[in-house]
Amino acid sequence: MTEPVRVDVENVSLSFGASKVLDNINVTIEPGEFFALLGPSGCGKSTLLRLIAGFNRAQSGRVCVAGEDITAVPPWKRNVGMVFQSYALWPHMSVAQNVAFGLEEKRLPRDAVRRGVAKALELVDLTGLADRKPGQISGGQQQRVALARTLAIEPRVLLLDEPLSNLDAKLRHHMRRELVALQRRLGITTIFVTHDQEEALTTADRLAVMDRGVIQQVGDPMELFDAPSSRFVAEFIGSINLVRGSLQERDGASALFSSGAGVFSLPLPEGAPSRGEITLAFRPHALELALPQQSGDPARAWIPAQIGEREFLGEFIRYRMRAGNAELLADVPHRKGEPGFPNGANVMAGIDPTQVRVFST
């Protein structure tokens, strides 16, 4: 296998007519990294991927692979392998012919092609299906063939465009783990496009969250989950409670916060503003619920709430609650023998201040 390479995207902007699809994108993917591009549909993530493959042309900026500017190189000379969302297996060729295609285009001698095909099919565990046509194999197998076809040419970079979206849930989880294992084994720099945050968090070394053609934040999964830099990122990755309000007065580390959900005092993290309009952001599992007459953990900020509806999800119960005029989500771990709170129950919700993030407005 060749040495892993770095990918640099520098100042890339692209518009289709009047609409800006990519707006001054700057991102570096380190050698051997599994990097995810995550965002809602239409955010420009696929466009960015296609740009790296050479199917879209940027109006400005450049793309470098291994430090070499490939902006003007046509797709067929980039050696940047892409697995398409639809797999794009050619139905008139057998599995082996599909996989052989790229090697033949490199004008390799016949036995080298044969060895390459065998190796690639073995890599994805499909050796027995070489003579089948794409129409005769299952969706999961088609996906592996597409992967083998791309890996056969030993590309410098592997691009995956929503590779798991056409599989059913069970297969998707399985393929996800296999994909990660394969990537680790090959050590190939991989860029993965997905709109599924769970998929991105579980597979990627690092990811970039995109919205409306702009990269919102780049970081490793935990960093993005725990320390989102914007409300968009916070809302896009996982579920989150957002409570708007104003800081009344600050006393040392603690501050008095007044909001639609109630007035309460809580310690604020360092660097948070001391006055004015802010938004508190915290995950549903940062809330603890207690009966009104119970005295809860004093380190938490407690506010009264009423349960609107509940969803039993097995590992935990998700409560949708009303606190003042704000709506809050709470995920409470479920243990055998604990029925939880019924709909309409009045409870106290305790916010863990260490799990709170503050956004100005």
Binding site: F55, P75, Q85, S86, A88, L89, W90, E105, G135
Partner: protein
């Protein structure tokens, strides 16, 4: 209902064909013999005709491919203004049959035609474009290349662009990309178009006759039957060969497509992006389009010029212009125009009634053997006009119409029957498509509200199918109006002749070419007008349906 349709198809489609086949293999004493085939291949002229027909059909497929394939690729894959014009060319063969333009082509490209006169003058050189078989190939190629263009364009446009991008991503580009991925994926469209071209050319009678080329199969069948006699077995042997090759080409293409998995697996990915042409490519593309446009329109322009000319021979353009040809046609040939309207209108009406009934029986009932009605009527697609014409002459030669209206073969009814049987597949296809778009719940709702099956068909199904029925009517009408093979055979006297026969008859003499061209122009206008009006009607109906 189903039985009545089956009986109709049996008598007017299957029986004449079986008669032809029977005669070709019958020894006159009720036994089976291959001796007619043996004697066919002993006649030098027949062997020559056989190979000429294969040669002409084969080379025409080649030439139409050379024109159609690059055009289809350019118009689907690149962004340039000519694309819409080229795609519109596809309707031309529907509007004017090949044989009508053939005489005009002779005057433009023949040995002493406009082009060669200019070339002779300037370079002392001439191109034998219209000599003998070349002429047939040239005329047919210009006429039929849209079949390949249109079929291939649809197929190309249906390919998921990711299929092409995947190949580029793996290092393929240019000609290799086209040869290894794009063309194989579009192969179903190409095969469909190419086999159609082969059949049409192989079976064509009008064009070779007008160009005075008789050493081909279809003209020989016609000549044997009309000059030697309806009992001469060689004509029937030719018919069997024509059927064999037509059915063979159709079966071959469908067998080929069935054996391969061509369906584009998934569609997803970006909509087909059209590439920008570089200035150099744009220049090439536009020159190609303009040259082609001139060539393709030349029969039409030539025909128009010819219809307006007083004298046109041995000169680049006509020597003098006149409208006399038109007044001559109106004076002498109104009967033919009325005949065309009556025959083709009757045939098209019969077709849509049968088409609607068959579509309903097949899609909506559990009638045993209903699929066979569909298959049976599709048989006509592979039946050459010459064969059916000869089959009619032979099968119905003694049939008298009731009420003392004389023999069937001497009445206009025979044209209506012959036209309708061969155009039924077109009408049926329209009706099938229209009916499958009517959701079953529409009918169930009507029945739920108390409408009987018959009332439901009348008040819900047929009105909702009307667009498709109308389209089927127009296609049947237009193609019947341009039919020449059956027409030449079945026209027993001039008062029965439709316009297409009139054109053919006029074109036989030098003096008749002017009026013949005028009649051709009128036919084109008639057909064009019909197409235009029905399109308007369909669009207006759709618009009013949507408003509701």
């Amino acid at each position: 209902m189903g039985l009545a349709i089956a009986a109709f198809l049996g008598v007017f489609l299957i029986a004449p064909i079986l008669t032809v086949i029977y005669v070709a293999f019958a020894d006159g004493a009720g036994g089976f013999t291959l001796s007619h085939f043996a004697s066919f291949f002993q006649i030098t002229l027949m062997r020559e005709s056989f190979f000429n027909s294969l040669y002409v059909a084969g080379v025409t497929v080649l030439v139409t491919s050379l024109i159609g394939v690059p055009l289809a690729y350019f118009t689907v894959r690149f962004r340039f203004r000519g694309a819409a014009i080229i795609q519109t060319l596809g309707v031309l063969p529907l509007i004017m049959p090949a044989f009508v333009g053939a005489s005009a082509m002779q005057l433009l490209f023949g040995r002493s035609g406009s082009l060669n006169l200019i070339l002779l003058d300037a370079f002392d050189l001439s191109i034998p474009l219209m000599d003998g078989l070349n002429g047939v190939i040239f005329v047919e190629s210009l006429h039929y290349f849209p079949f390949i263009l249109l079929n291939l364009s649809v197929a190309l446009a249906n390919i998921d662009t990711a299929m092409e991008e995947a190949a580029q991503n793996l290092g393929s580009s240019g000609w290799r990309l086209f040869r290894r991925v794009v063309f194989p994926l579009a192969l179903p469209g190409y095969i469909a178009g190419a086999s159609l071209v082969f059949i049409k050319v192989f079976d064509d009678l009008g064009t070779p006759l007008i160009l005075n080329v008789t050493n081909m199969l279809a003209p020989q069948a016609y000549l044997r039957v009309t000059s030697i006699g309806i009992d001469d077995p060689i004509g029937y042997v030719i018919c069997v060969l024509l059927v064999l090759f037509s059915v063979g080409a159709m079966a071959g293409s469908s067998w080929f497509l069935k054996g391969h998995d061509f369906a584009t697996l998934q569609r997803g990915g970006a909509a087909g992006l059209r590439r920008q042409l570089t200035p150099w490519q744009a220049l090439m593309a536009y020159s190609l389009v303009i040259a082609l446009l001139l060539l393709v329109l030349s029969p039409h322009l030539g025909l128009l010029l010819l219809s307006l000319s007083r004298v046109w021979s041995y000169s680049v353009l006509p020597d003098a212009y006149t409208l006399a040809n038109y007044s001559a046609v109106f004076r002498d040939s109104t009967r033919m125009m009325l005949n065309t309207l009556a025959y083709c209108g009757g045939a098209a009406l019969l077709d849509v009634v049968l088409g609607t009934a068959i579509a309903y029986l097949v899609l909506r009932t559990r009638l045993p053997g209903r699929q066979w009605l569909d298959h049976l009527s599709t048989v006509a697609l592979a039946m050459p006009g010459v064969v059916l014409g000869i089959g009619y002459l032979r099968s119905f030669r003694d049939v008298e119409l009731p009420f003392g209206m004389g023999p069937l073969l001497g009445s206009g009814l025979i044209f209506v029957l012959a036209y309708s049987v061969r155009r039924l597949p077109y009408a049926l296809r329209s009706c099938n498509a229209a009916l499958s778009q009517v959701h079953l719940s529409m009918e169930e709702a009507a029945q739920n509200l108390g409408a009987s099956r018959g009332r439901t068909i009348l008040r819900v199904v047929v009105p909702m199918m009307m667009g498709g029925i109308l389209a089927g009517f127009v296609t049947s009408f237009i193609t019947a109006a341009g039919e020449i093979s059956e027409t030449i055979l079945l026209t027993s006297r001039e008062s029965l002749a439709p316009m297409s026969y009139g054109v053919y008859l006029y074109m036989q003499s030098i003096a008749g070419r002017g009026p013949g061209a005028a009649l051709g122009v009128l036919a084109v206008i008639l057909v064009g007008l019909g197409t235009y009006l029905s399109n308007r009607l369909v669009i207006a109906r759709q618009a009013s349906m949507e408003r509701r």
